[in-house]
């Protein structure tokens, strides 16, 4: 048990170190800004004093290392700085803090993502295991072809096909997922059906194929054959012999695809104009609102790293070989 704990702590530390380096990269974005950037934000007619004040606020007059730790400290306290938008060349500052802009959006995106995950993960595992058990059968081949095709489809195409079918030709769901203030839980659920369905279709193919591959890999191992020769029932082989060894690859699969969800929301939220953090990021990239882009990037990257790290840790903890040290 001790060695397991040590490995887990090592993984946690590795994750933290990665996050640290990623934060350096994201911070360095401001330093990489081209020289004419202040004009792009403040407009061509910006006064010299305004430009100077803006540069001072960005801290371009201080050494980079000092600025990095100041930024990091603020971020750790939840302060992502103030948005670039709303600044005018006249010097009147109508910009809002980044956190205020992000918070409601983040909640919406988490709602959408968890709704997708609750449907997609069990379904994909079930389909994957079924396909692996009936390998080369009709069901397996059908699912293989369908998933290969759906992996190749761009997310926005899947989204528009669903929109055309379920919002226009047979209008049961709204084509635009605008969350009104004061909407209750069921309203939100109803609005999020189409984006969640799109994300489910996109992620399920990957997840199902990887689950199938992992299970097939295990079914070919000698101890499964031994159990089979012993006369153990198929159900019991799966539950007692295959699944304990399959948790690690399955956890990897799930984490990988939840991480994929992180990327998927960017496109899907734009298609359905769902007010989530993905659309916020796209809008901010268009207007080059760097503080918001930085905050969104940090949130996305952090989620991604966290998911991958948890998959690693689940793989270690559930590995039966590590639980019994020699």
């Amino acid at each position: 048990m001790n060695s397991v704990l040590i490995t887990v702590i090592q993984r946690l530390l590795l994750g933290l170190i990665t996050l640290f380096f990623v934060s350096i990269i994201i911070f360095a974005m401001v330093a990489m800004l081209p020289g004419d950037f202040t004009q792009a934000v403040l407009g061509q007619a910006a006064l010299e004093e305004t430009v100077q004040a803006f540069r001072k606020e960005l801290g371009l007059d201080q050494p980079a290392v000092y600025r990095y730790f100041q930024w990091l400290g603020a971020v750790l306290q939840g302060d992502f700085g103030t948005s670039f938008s709303g600044r005018a060349s006249s010097g009147i500052d109508r910009s809002r803090p980044v956190l205020e802009l992000i918070e409601p959006r983040l909640y919406n995106t988490l709602f959408l993502a968890s709704m997708t995950a609750i449907v997609a993960v069990p379904l994909a595992l079930y389909l994957g295991i079924t396909a692996a058990l009936h390998r080369n059968g009709f069901f397996d081949r059908l699912i293989n072809t369908v998933t290969l095709v759906s992996i190749s489809l761009p997310e926005f195409l899947v989204a528009y096909v669903l929109m055309a079918l379920l919002a226009v030709l047979w209008p049961v769901f709204p084509p635009i997922s605008e969350v009104r203030p004061g909407a209750d839980f069921f309203d939100r659920l109803y609005i999020s059906v189409l984006p969640a369905l799109t994300l489910t279709m996109v992620t399920i193919a990957h997840m199902m194929r990887m689950t199938r591959a992992a299970i097939i890999n295990l079914l070919a191992s000698p101890y499964v054959e031994m159990a089979r020769l012993k006369g153990v029932a198929q159900r019991e082989i799966i539950i007692k012999h295959v699944l304990p060894n399959a948790w690690a690859p399955i956890a990897t699969v799930i984490a990988f695809n939840l991480a994929y969800l992180v990327i998927g929301v960017v496109v899907v939220e734009t298609v359905f104009t769902y007010p989530g953090i993905g659309r916020l990021m796209v809008d901010s990239v268009t207007t080059r609102d760097i503080p918001i882009v930085q905050a969104c990037g940090l949130i996305f990257a952090g989620t991604y790293i966290f998911l991958n790290m948890s998959a690693d840790i689940i793989g270690i903890v559930t590995n039966p070989r590590l639980l019994h040290p020699r």
Binding site: V22, I151, S152, P154, Y160, L169
Partner: protein, 304 residues
Amino acid sequence: MSTKNYSATAEVAHVRTRRTWLHRMWLGLKKAPLTAWFGLIVILGYLFCMIFADLIAPHGEAEVFAIPYAPWSEEHRLGTDHLGRDILSRLIFGARNTVGIALLTTLLSFAIGGGLGLVAAINRSWLDQILSRFVDILLAIPSLIFALMLLAVFGSSVLNLIIIIAVLDSTRVFRLTRAVALNVVVMDYVEAARLRGEKLGWIMRREILPNIMPPLVAEFGLRFSFVFLTIAALSFLGLGIQPPTADWGTMVRELSTFINYLNYDLRLGLLAFIPGSAIALLTVAVNFVVDWFLHQTSGLRDEH
């Protein structure tokens, strides 16, 4: 046959006919499954559109006509868009721009990632360590998110797009190249070449590269479809290829407003799906061909 003239060497020599690579390719293709044939034909069709876009397209790429939203007619086979540009012509030119840019990006990414991967595998010193750790960190950020952040900093232009995606994608190429090259680097003939005093370039090109070609070619197909989809997604978001250049991702976005009229005019409503399907068809085709190629070269007979 008279036994007098019989010569064993002649018979053996006769059996071993040397085939040209074209002939060998044909023999392989004859045995290819239907899906691979389908994929190859589709890819050739796209290449044809790319190269002869000027000749096939009825109108110019950004040529603006008097009537926007024109219906389908002899003059405009698929009508015109919101600015009065011929949709069919833009589709055909879109093949050149979208596919061409994705191809260029993938080539650049293989040049960077493959080259550095080989160098790291051959000279396993601090350079390998630094490159590998750096790649680990870059891979910790999802590439679409990273691309969005970099585009926010540098602004979106075609050149920036190609460089950013190529650099981000080269990390995966680097990993694969390094991993497969590591198995080859320890071979005796590489050691022999090194003792002979061959330079790094020679060892990379003549000793290692031919031996790691099959996985790299398969990876090229997969990476191409990934890059192609990423660029299409970015263009769709309005951050990739910028108008007036015709490209499929942007076209999907521009034409998507018509989907709401699907109930009244089916042809108009389905317009957005034409560039969308063009993107999907190419990725499906590439995946089919890569599947077949992997099957051929690795002897993975049991995967399906």
